[in-house]
């Protein structure tokens, strides 16, 4: 029972990280209709920046976090300017956007690999005492990761649904051309979206790095976010979050009770089963993905 509860809490915290990633993909997809493959590179970049800030510059965690977020935003917006904006203006098929994004991903991940080396690193943060409730020990970092991730998701919700800028993004998600006819600046929307993407990927990268390890290929975990959004149903942001939670919890259960080496295998089998029996995901309504 203790093991179960411990795995449950750990699963919720990893599920929260998956939902940050899933939401980051959904945000770009909903407006530009392509999957931002560079996203997982941003995530690794964010984690490495925070890692360097702490291990080489000896900054406190919160300062490293801010540095990481700011640099990842710059990278994300820079990628948009260099790799996407010309294609976007030319109304290129989304296949081209996808390939371009894959190129950015390939370049950044291998650049990180070249600059830092491919080894697995422990995130340089002192081991804090786990909190004990009865016999259940809860990792303090698990708790913080979960809380901050939910906090970021909450802020994103407020941003999208309670501000004028968010309204602009939602309008562009429905129809980018009509939105621009209504006076919404497309370039400003792109800036906002890729800034948000930068924040999401940096936070997810840092907490994933704390939970597992920091290494150049860590972005491969974004497969899980994709699987999670298919599991939840490609319909809405809440579905992506629910799917992430389910996948995170099931995964930690598998690694706790069976074996951690079969964890990723399990996630993939789970995806196939979901596709076979719930082709639209657990909560999905249609194949179209909108905010």
């Amino acid at each position: 029972m203790e093991l179960f509860l411990q795995q449950l809490i750990s699963g919720i915290s990893i599920g929260a990280i998956y939902s940050l990633l899933a939401v980051g993909y959904a945000l770009v997809y909903s407006v530009y209709n392509f999957t931002n493959w560079a996203f997982d590179a941003f995530m690794a970049f964010g984690a490495f920046m925070a890692f360097t800030a702490i291990s080489s510059l000896f900054l406190p965690f919160w300062a490293a976090m801010i540095i990481s977020i700011v640099l990842t935003i710059l990278l994300s917006v820079g990628t948009e300017k260099l790799a996407y904006s010309t294609l976007r203006r030319r109304k290129a098929p989304r296949l081209f956007m996808m390939i371009s994004a894959m190129g950015v991903n390939l370049a950044i991940v291998n650049l990180i690999n070249k600059a830092f080396g491919g080894t697995f690193r422990k995130f340089p943060i002192e081991d804090v005492q786990p909190i004990f409730i009865g016999n259940i020990s809860i990792g303090r970092m698990d708790l913080i990761a979960g809380l901050i991730s939910f906090g970021v998701l909450g802020l994103l919700w407020l941003f999208l649904y309670r501000t004028k800028w968010g309204l602009g993004i939602r309008a562009s998600a429905i129809d980018i051309l009509s939105a621009s006819l209504m006076g919404i600046n497309n370039d400003a929307v792109a800036m906002l979206i890729f800034t948000t993407t930068g924040v999401l990927s940096s936070v997810a990268g840092v907490f994933y790095g704390i939970k597992y390890a920091v290494y150049p290929m860590m972005g491969i975990v974004t497969i899980k976010a994709m699987i999670a959004s298919i599991v939840g149903g490609l319909g809405s942001l809440p579905a992506a979050i629910v799917g992430s939670m389910i996948l995170g919890i099931l995964e930690t259960m598998v690694s706790g009770y069976i074996s951690s080496s079969y964890r990723d295998l399990f996630s993939f089998l789970f995806l196939i089963l979901i596709l076979l029996f719930f082709p639209n995901g657990l909560m999905g309504k249609s194949g179209e993905e909108k905010l």
Partner: protein, 299 residues
């Protein structure tokens, strides 16, 4: 000489795998970043057949390809039936290939067969040489050409351009996509088999995501709806890093930047929409001799 042979063999194997990706990505418009997984399946299967069951080499090679093709239905059927969007299909293939790699990494024994897990499957009989690769390559190219110019190939192109329109013209989407996926996995499986019989050794680490990115790179640079483009680039992408060893670490970084540059300046790829045919011979012939004969007949 041995060195040149090695480049020809590895380049040829890469071309066979890239032709498979070209059929799937270039012609059908489906993205795969998991073809390394199919290569692994075909490679291990054909190696096991030859080593443990002493099946003749060519039959084992085809069986390996066939096995990879069958396994492709595991992801193909659910993904296409649920009309999974292209990007998510790419993710599914990536997940599939990673799952295969993990499975091979963690499987030491199947029955009495020692697969070696992460250490790799050793002592595979060595059968691949330049002749075998060249023959396989010619056959592969011939069948790929036949396929893409056939009705099935035209269906694939129709699906890649507009699914709804294709369906209205009576193209069965599920069947077309599954056929393309099967053939492309078959090619990858044969390529994996040739690789195993060349190195006399197979390790799960051969079939990482880097291998899949290389294959995708060959098709993206080579061009969409072209066989000759990916053929040339798949060979160049193997040969050039051999001669520029000092740049080896930069290879993937350069590929990545080239992806972006190609998409911005020449999105159809180097040989996009250029079909492989012998028309240029006729054109050359006409240029050289056509006018003279025409004049002669006039005169």
């Amino acid at each position: 000489m041995g060195y040149i042979n090695a480049i020809i063999i590895l380049g040829g194997i890469n071309i066979i795998a890239a032709l498979g990706v070209a059929i799937l990505t270039g012609y059908t418009g489906l993205f795969s970043i998991g073809h390394a997984g199919f290569m692994a399946l075909g490679g291990y299967m054909s190696a096991i057949l030859v080593k443990e069951f002493s099946v003749p080499f060519p039959i084992a090679l085809l069986a390996g390809g066939f096995f990879a093709g069958l396994c492709s239905f595991i992801i193909g059927y659910p993904a296409f039936r649920s009309r999974l969007r292209g990007d998510y299909f790419a993710i599914a293939t990536l997940g599939f290939s990673e799952a295969i790699r993990l499975l091979l990494n963690n499987t030491k024994m199947i029955g009495n067969i020692n697969l070696g897990g992460a250490f790799g499957y050793m002592n595979i009989p060595s059968h691949t040489n330049v002749l075998v690769v060249v023959i396989s390559l010619i056959l592969a190219l011939f069948f790929a050409h036949m396929f893409v110019t056939s009705q099935y190939g035209k269906n694939c192109i129709a699906v890649s351009q507009d699914e709804v329109a294709a369906q209205m013209m009576g193209v069965n989407l599920l069947k077309t996509k599954l056929t393309a996926l099967f053939i492309s996995a078959f090619y990858a499986g044969v390529a994996g088999g040739l690789l195993g019989f060349y190195f006399a050794y197979l390790s799960p680490s051969f079939f990482s995501i880097t291998k899949s990115s290389d294959l995708l790179a060959a098709v993206v640079f080579g061009g969409i709806q072209s066989l000759i483009g990916p053929l040339i680039t798949a060979f160049v992408l193997i040969a050039v890093p051999e001669f520029l060893r000092s740049l080896a670490e930069w290879r993937l970084i350069i590929y990545g930047c080239l992806f972006v540059v190609v998409m911005i300046f020449r999105p159809q790829g180097l040989f996009g929409y250029v079909e492989m045919n012998l028309n240029f011979v006729r054109v050359m012939w006409n240029k050289l001799f056509g006018r003279k004969t025409a004049k002669a007949s006039e005169g």
